[in-house]
């Protein structure tokens, strides 16, 4: 891996705007995260969360504003940036006709991962798919595909991990496994940005929370375990919707 440049913030976004046609999806977002931060980004549907995370990981260029990830500018250092980030999305980015091992081998080669065979075996063990290395991905359940997608995203040991609704399709066991992997990743001092609709899951591991609403970052604070309970009313206040009675009871 190439030498990392110096930076003040591992993730820095300044005045990020994005329009699709006449529709402004992001209306000037500023965000700074330090190394080791775990940010969970909440927001209602259509708030611009996925667009924002896609801009952060260089899949989309901002209309205006500046983004800098690990000191790399997505416009000019896209390849270098791709080496230091991992992304888990709604889509698994897996090839259905290839086996789990072949998928990881492909992505590992693309990231020039050394000792790839051993690394793949370790990752398959980590995500609980060690018994299915030669099974084609199209035979996997949604949860198994999501686990493999996580292995794909971390195969090159990225510095920053972006997750867009990673718990989608996972059963309780799969969700707990994912949580454990994220704990390990966080404890190694890696930086994580996660989008979630599930307040409980989203608040479990993070040390920062943000709320995106109508293309604006309306809330961004550090959060401790004791404050997690207090966050739910804050969330509903910021998205201007009252919690339903059964949510209050829970």
């Amino acid at each position: 891996m190439r030498k990392l440049p110096s930076y003040d913030y591992i993730i820095e976004a300044k005045g990020v705007k994005k329009e699709f046609g006449f529709k402004a999806v992001l209306k000037g977002i500023d965000l700074q995260l330090k190394e080791g931060d775990f940010l969970t980004l909440f927001g209602p549907n259509g708030a611009g969360k996925t667009t924002f995370i896609q801009i952060l990981c260089s899949l989309m260029l901002p209309g205006s504003g500046k983004v800098c990830i690990v000191g790399f500018d997505p416009r000019s250092d896209r390849e270098a940036l791709c080496e230091v980030i991992g992304f888990v999305s709604h889509h698994t980015f897996l090839y259905p006709n290839l086996s789990a091992f072949e998928n990881l081998k492909f992505y590992g080669t693309m990231y020039n991962v050394p000792a790839l065979g051993e690394k793949i075996e370790k990752l398959l063990e980590l995500v609980g798919l060690a018994d299915f290395p030669n099974d084609q991905v199209q035979t996997f359940s949604r949860g198994m595909q999501q686990r493999l997608s996580l292995a794909r995203a971390v195969i090159h040991d990225p510095v920053v991990l972006f997750l867009d609704e990673p718990y989608t399709g996972l059963d309780q066991l799969g969700a707990e496994d994912l949580k454990q992997i994220l704990v390990e990743f966080r404890d190694k001092g890696k930086t994580i940005v996660m989008i979630s609709h599930n307040l409980d899951r989203g608040l479990e591991l993070c040390n920062r929370v943000a709320i995106l609403r109508s293309g604006r970052l309306v809330y961004h604070e550090e959060i401790s375990e004791t404050e997690i309970v207090d966050f739910k009313p804050i969330y509903f206040k910021y998205i201007e919707k009252r919690p339903l009675p059964f949510q209050v009871a829970l």
């Binding site: 791709c82 999305s89 889509h91 980015f93 090839y95 084609q136």
Partner: protein
């Protein structure tokens, strides 16, 4: 070296996927077979000068059948939702494009070998003495077709009727290359000296380079949006 390894990884992945499904190759070969059969019945065996119309038929079949595979170069990635995963890999868009050109070239070449075999049988042609120059013409023609076709495949991948749009875009652009390829094939089949093919070969090489240059200059912008 790393660049070549990454490029080959994409080609290997596409070949392996196709080997498992056989969706594209089968449809391309079947289509070319059917078109050849139709031509064979339509023309009969008593055509005045078969060698003057054979090159045109051959290249029309190559282009039409090749188009069936072109759309899948990027269309399949988009359908499977893997295009973003590919773009997230640390490889320049130009590298991704080149890998897709190589893949398209291999698939088209397989179809062309099959077509040529059927062609020889149906039209009772002996191509063995001219196999080398014919092979070179087909190589250059296929390279140009794959180069420009892959570029347009990326452009049309996001559209709903991508196959129609791809045909509309590719046909007019490939016409000059097609004329040169047909002319060169015709010259060779007529038993003329190889030196007479040079002007057509030069045109083919020039178009291959022009198509690749256009792709080099534009592909990053096409794929980013």
């Amino acid at each position: 070296m790393i660049f070549i390894r990454k490029l080959w990884a994409i080609v290997w992945k596409d070949l392996l996927s196709e080997l498992r499904t056989k969706e594209m190759i089968l449809s391309m070969c079947l289509f070319s077979f059917l078109v050849l059969i139709i031509f064979s019945f339509a023309l009969g065996t008593e055509v005045m000068d078969l060698k003057t119309i054979v090159p045109g038929i051959l290249w029309v079949v190559f282009i039409f059948s090749g188009l069936m595979g072109l759309g899948r170069a990027f269309g399949a990635e988009r359908d499977k939702g893997t295009l973003s995963g590919l773009l997230l890999c640390p490889l320049s868009p130009w590298g991704i494009y080149l890998a897709k050109v190589v893949g398209t070239f291999i698939f088209t070449a397989i179809m062309e070998i099959f077509t040529l075999s059927i062609f020889i049988i149906l039209f009772n042609l002996n191509l063995l003495p001219v196999l080398l120059p014919i092979g070179l013409i087909i190589f250059l023609g296929t390279l140009g077709f794959s180069a420009i076709g892959t570029l347009f495949s990326a452009m049309s991948a996001a559209t709903k009727s991508r196959d129609t749009i791809l045909s509309i875009l590719v046909f007019p652009i490939t016409v000059p290359m097609l004329i040169a390829a047909v002319k060169a094939t015709e010259t060779i089949l007529a038993g003329k000296a190889v030196a007479e093919v040079y002007p057509s070969l030069k045109i083919l090489i020039a178009f291959d380079l022009i198509y690749l240059l256009i792709a080099y200059l534009t592909f990053t912008f096409i794929i980013e949006e």
